[in-house]
Amino acid sequence: MQEVAYPVLTVLVFFPLVAAVGLFFLKGDDKIRAYTLGVSIVELALSYPLFTGFKLESAAFQFVERMDWVKQWGVEYYLGTDGISFLMVVLTIAVLPLCVLCSWTYIQTRVKEFHFCLLFMTAACVGVFTALDLVLFYVFWEAMLVPMYLLIAVWGGPEKRYASLKFFLYTLAGSALLLVAIVAFRIAGGTFAIPELMEQNFAFSFQFWAFLALALAFAIKVPMFPFHTWLPAAHVQAPTAGSVILASVLLKMGTYGFLRFNLPLTPAASEYFAPFMIAISIAGILYGGIVALGQNDIKKVIAYSSVGHMGFVTLGIFLFNQRGLEGALFQMLNHGITTGGLFMMIGAVYERSHSRELDDNLGLGKYMPAYMFFWGLFALSSFGFPGTNSFVGEILVFVGAFEQNPWIGALMVPGAMVAAAYMLRISLKLAWGRPTSWKEWPDLNLREWSYLVVPAVFVLYIGLAPGLCFKVMDASLLKLEKDVKEGAKIVAMEKDNPAEVAFNSLKGIIK
C-alpha cells in the first residue's frame, strides 16, 4: 500500500468532473477559460503524489483503490496504475492545460460547454488508464465518447457532422463486442478484476475469440489500417484542442488496450495473431506515409502521419520482445507529445490564415521565425530525428523488429523514409515557400509560447535523456513480456491447425 494520505487516483478522475460543475455558475468567457486553466493546473498539482509515491522497481499495480460497486455481479470500483499506465495518466493530465491555452481565442461559441467537455474528457481518459475492473474500464471507455463527439460535432469544421457521426459509429460499433468479451471473461475467469484475470490461463479456443472481440474495439480506436478511415475526417474537422486530445490521448487508448488486455489475457492467441497484426501494422505505416505525402491540407498530413506512427506502436507491441514493447510504449508517449504539438501549431497558423491549405501558408519562415523554430523541432521529432524523443522510440521498435525477424525490420525502413519525406516537404514549403500574398502575421505571442514550450521541452528532454521513462516502464514491461511468453507456453497450442480448433470451438461458444 502507498503512503499517501488520500486516494490519489480517485481524486484525479473525479476532480475535473466536480470542478466542471463550477463552470455553470460562471459568467463571461474569459473567466470560464481562466477557471478551467486553474482547474487543469490544480489537477496537475494533485498528480504530484504519483511522482513521489511511484515505486520504480515494482511491476505491481500501485495506488490501488478497491471497493464493491455492484456486489451481486462482482463488479468493483478498482483503480490502480503500473509502469504502463503511469505515463499515459501523466500525459493525459499534462495535455489538459495546453488544450485550454491553445483554444483560448480559437473557441468563441459556447465556451462554457466546450470547457465542460474538456474536463469531462480528461476525467474519463484518466479513468480508462487507471481502471483495473473490466466493467469500470468499459464505463470510462464509452463515457469519453460523448464529449469527444460533441467536441467535433459542435466546434468542428465545415464537415463536422459527418466526421463526428463517423467517429461515434466506428468506435461504438467496435466496442459492442467488447462488452460481450467482458462478460465472457467474467464467466470463464470468475471475476472482472483485471489483475486476477491475468493470473489465469484460458483455453486457446476461448482466447482466439476473446482476442478478436477485444482487438476489433482496440484496432478501431488506434486506428489500425484498414479501420482508420474515421481518423482523418475526425482530425481535420475537430477544433485544435479536440485534435490534440484525439492524437495525444484517445489513440493511445487503443494501443493501451492491446498492452493491458490482449497481451496478458490472451497471450497464446496474441502470439498466434502476431504475424497478422504485424502485417497490418506495416501496411498502416506505409499507407499512412504514402497518403500523407500527397496531401495539401496540413492537418490531413498530420492525421495520416498518425496512422503511420500508430502502426509503429502496434508493430512494437506484437513483436513480443522487450525492445519492441519499450519502443511501443515510448512511441505512445512521443506521439502524444509530438503530434499534439504539431496540431497546436496548425491551430496557431489557422487562427492567422483561416486556412489549413499548404498553399495559403507558404513562406512562414520570413514572418514567424519563432513559429518555424517550433515547427521544425516537432517536425524533426515526428520523423524520428536523432536527439528528439521519437528517435528513441522508433529505434527501439527497429531493433526489436530486427531481433525478431530481419524482414520485418527491412519492411519498416521505407515507412520511416516516407515519414521524413512528407514532413520535410511541408516544412520546406512552410519555411521557404514563395508566399502567394503579403502576410503581416504576428509571430507567436506569449500564450502560444507558453503552450508550445512544454511539449518542445519534452521532445528534447526525452530525446536526450530517456533514462527516467525507461525506469518507469521497465519493470512492468519485463513482467508483461515474461507473463505473455509463459502464458503462451502454458496454453499449449494445437500444433497442427489452431484455426481449425478455434472454429470448432465456435460451435461450443455459440451452442
Binding site: Q72, W73, A153, L165, A173, L177, V180, K511
Partner: protein, 471 residues
C-alpha cells in the same frame, strides 16, 4: 381479511373511485383533475414502497403477493405517476374528456398491478384484459385526428386476435395439464414429446404476452399505434403494459429450461425481434415510430434474461424492464414537452433543442444513450446484467447477436441527440415547453436513469429476490 397486502391495489382503486365520481359529476368538477390527480398519483408509489415486504397467497391460490409482484407494483406506480404528470398538459385532449381519460389510465394501471400478482392463468387473463380494454378506449382520444382512430382500431383488432389466440392456447394447456395454477404447471415437463398439446397451448398463450410486449412478429401494431396515439398516451402504452408482460413472462420462465423447445422458440423470437426492430428503426423519421421500433428491439433483449432459467437471469430481466420504463419515459417526457401543440415530432423538430430547452435536450441525450446501452446510464447496467446472466446457458449466439444489434441501434438513437445538439433550429416551429414543470420532470427522470446506472446495487438486490420467488 388482512388488507395490508393489497394496499397498492387499494390505493389505486381509491384513485379510480375518485376519478369515477368526477367523470360522472358536474361539468365544473372536471377541470380540477389536472390539479389533484398528479399529487394523488404519488400515493400509490408511497404505498407500494411501504408494502414491499408483504407476502401471501390469496383467493384459493390464484393471487400471490411476493417480492416479484411488489417490485413491479412499485415500478407500475412510478410509471403511472410519471405518465399522469406528463399527461396533465395534454394539448390534444378536450376538457370534458379529461377525467375519463385519467380514469382509463388508472384502470389500466390497476389491471397491471393485479396482473403482477396473478399466478393462475384465468386470473392473469382477466387482469390482462382489464388493463387492455382501458387502453383501447383512450388511444382514440386525440382531438379529431383520424390517425388516432386508425391506431385505436388497429390496437383493438390486434389485441382481440391475440387475446383470442391466447385463450385458445389456454384451453390446450388446460386440456394437456389439467390445471391452470402456475405452481402446478411448473412441475410438469414442458417438452414437445412429453406434452405436445400443452406446449402448443403455452406457445399460443405466450402469444398474448408477446403481443403486449411487441415482440417480433407480434409487433405490427406497435409503431402505428404510437404514431397515431397522442404523445402522452403513447408514453403510457409504450411503457407500463410492457411491465405487465415481463412480470408474466418471469412467472412463466420457470418452465423455460434451457434446451426445451419452447425456450429455443423464445430465443429465436428474441433474436429476430432485436434485429428487425433495430433495422426498421434506422429508416424512421418520426420520433415516436423510432421509439416504437426500439421497443420491439428491447423486447428482444429482455428475452436473454428469461431464457437463462436462473435467478440472476430473471432478476436481470426485471431490472432491465424497470430501466427500460425509466429510459423510455424520459424520452417520451421530452417528446411531449417539445410537441407543445400535440403534433407528431419528426426528427427535424428536435433541431436546436439544446439552445431552446437545455434541460430537455440533456434528458433526451440521457434517455437515448441509455437506450443504446452507453455507460453510465441504466441501459448499460441492464445489458451487462442480461449478458452476464445469459452467457453459458446454451444461448451464447443470442448474446452475440444482441451485441451486434447494439452497434446497429447506435445510429438512430444518436440521430435524436445529433438533431438536438448539432443542428440549428428551424424558424416557425413552436417553442418547446421550458417551464419549471418541464425542467423538473426532465431533471428528475434523467437522475433516475443515471442513478439506476451508477448505483444499481440496491435495486438489483431486490431484483434478485424477485428472481428467486420463481421455483
Amino acid at each position: 381479511m388482512n388488507p395490508y397486502p393489497f394496499m397498492p391495489e387499494l390505493s389505486m382503486f381509491l384513485i379510480i373511485a375518485l376519478l369515477f365520481v368526477q367523470a360522472v359529476g358536474s361539468e365544473k368538477m372536471r377541470h380540477k383533475v389536472g390539479v389533484w390527480l398528479p399529487v394523488a398519483s404519488l400515493l400509490p408509489i408511497a404505498v407500494s414502497l411501504f408494502s414491499l415486504g408483504q407476502e401471501g397467497l390469496f383467493f384459493h391460490g390464484a393471487y400471490q403477493v411476493d417480492p416479484l409482484s411488489q417490485f413491479f407494483k412499485v415500478a407500475i406506480a412510478i410509471g403511472f405517476s410519471v405518465t399522469v404528470f406528463n399527461a396533465t398538459r395534454q394539448p390534444t385532449l378536450v376538457n370534458e374528456k379529461r377525467s375519463d381519460y385519467f380514469l382509463f389510465l388508472a384502470i389500466s394501471g390497476w389491471g397491471l398491478m393485479m396482473l403482477a400478482s396473478s399466478v393462475e392463468l384465468i386470473t392473469m387473463y382477466l387482469a390482462l384484459e382489464l388493463s387492455s380494454y382501458a387502453l383501447y378506449a383512450i388511444i382514440a382520444l386525440r382531438a379529431k385526428d383520424r390517425g388516432a382512430a386508425e391506431a385505436a382500431i388497429k390496437y383493438i383488432m390486434f389485441g382481440a386476435v391475440s387475446t383470442a389466440v391466447a385463450l385458445y392456447g389456454f384451453s390446450y394447456i388446460l386440456a394437456g395439464m389439467h390445471t391452470t395454477y402456475l405452481a402446478d404447471l411448473v412441475q410438469k415437463t414442458w417438452t414437445f414429446s412429453a406434452a405436445p398439446m400443452a406446449v402448443t397451448g403455452m406457445a399460443l398463450f405466450l402469444l398474448g404476452m408477446f403481443y403486449k410486449l411487441a415482440l417480433f412478429p407480434f409487433h405490427f401494431w406497435c409503431p402505428d399505434v404510437y404514431e397515431g396515439a397522442s404523445n402522452e398516451t403513447a408514453a403510457f402504452v409504450a411503457t407500463l403494459p410492457k411491465l405487465g408482460a415481463v412480470v408474466i413472462l418471469i412467472r412463466l420462465a420457470a418452465m423455460f429450461k434451457p434446451g426445451y423447445d419452447i425456450t429455443t422458440v423464445i430465443a429465436v423470437l428474441g433474436a429476430l425481434s432485436m434485429t428487425f426492430g433495430n433495422l426498421a428503426a434506422l429508416v424512421q423519421r418520426d420520433v415516436k415510430r423510432i421509439l416504437g421500433y426500439s421497443s420491439v428491439a428491447h423486447a428482444g433483449y429482455i428475452m436473454i434474461g428469461l431464457i437463462s432459467g436462473t435467478v440472476q437471469g430473471l432478476a436481470a430481466a426485471a431490472f432491465y424492464a424497470l430501466a427500460y420504463v425509466a429510459m423510455n419515459l424520459t424520452c417520451f417526457w421530452v417528446v411531449s414537452r417539445v410537441s407543445v401543440d400535440g403534433r407528431n415530432l419528426q426528427l427535424d423538430d428536435l433541431n436546436g433543442l439544446h439552445k431552446r430547452a437545455p434541460a430537455l435536450a440533456f434528458a433526451l441525450a440521457v434517455g437515448s444513450f441509455a437506450l443504446v446501452g452507453l455507460p453510465p446510464m441504466a441501459g448499460f447496467m441492464g445489458k451487462l446484467f442480461l449478458f452476464s446472466s445469459g452467457w453459458n446457458h446454451g444461448y451464447n449466439w443470442l448474446i452475440i447477436i444482441a451485441g451486434i444489434n447494439t452497434a446497429i441501434s447506435i445510429y438512430y438513437y444518436l440521430g435524436m441527440v445529433r438533431h438536438a445538439y448539432t443542428k440549428d433550429a428551424v424558424e416557425g416551429v413552436p417553442l418547446p415547453d421550458t417551464s419549471a414543470f418541464s425542467f423538473t420532470g426532465a431533471v428528475l427522470l434523467s437522475m433516475l436513469v443515471l442513478g439506476l446506472g451508477m448505483m444499481p446495487a440496491g435495486v438489483f438486490d431486490f431484483a434478485l429476490k424477485v428472481g428467486s420467488v420463481v421455483p
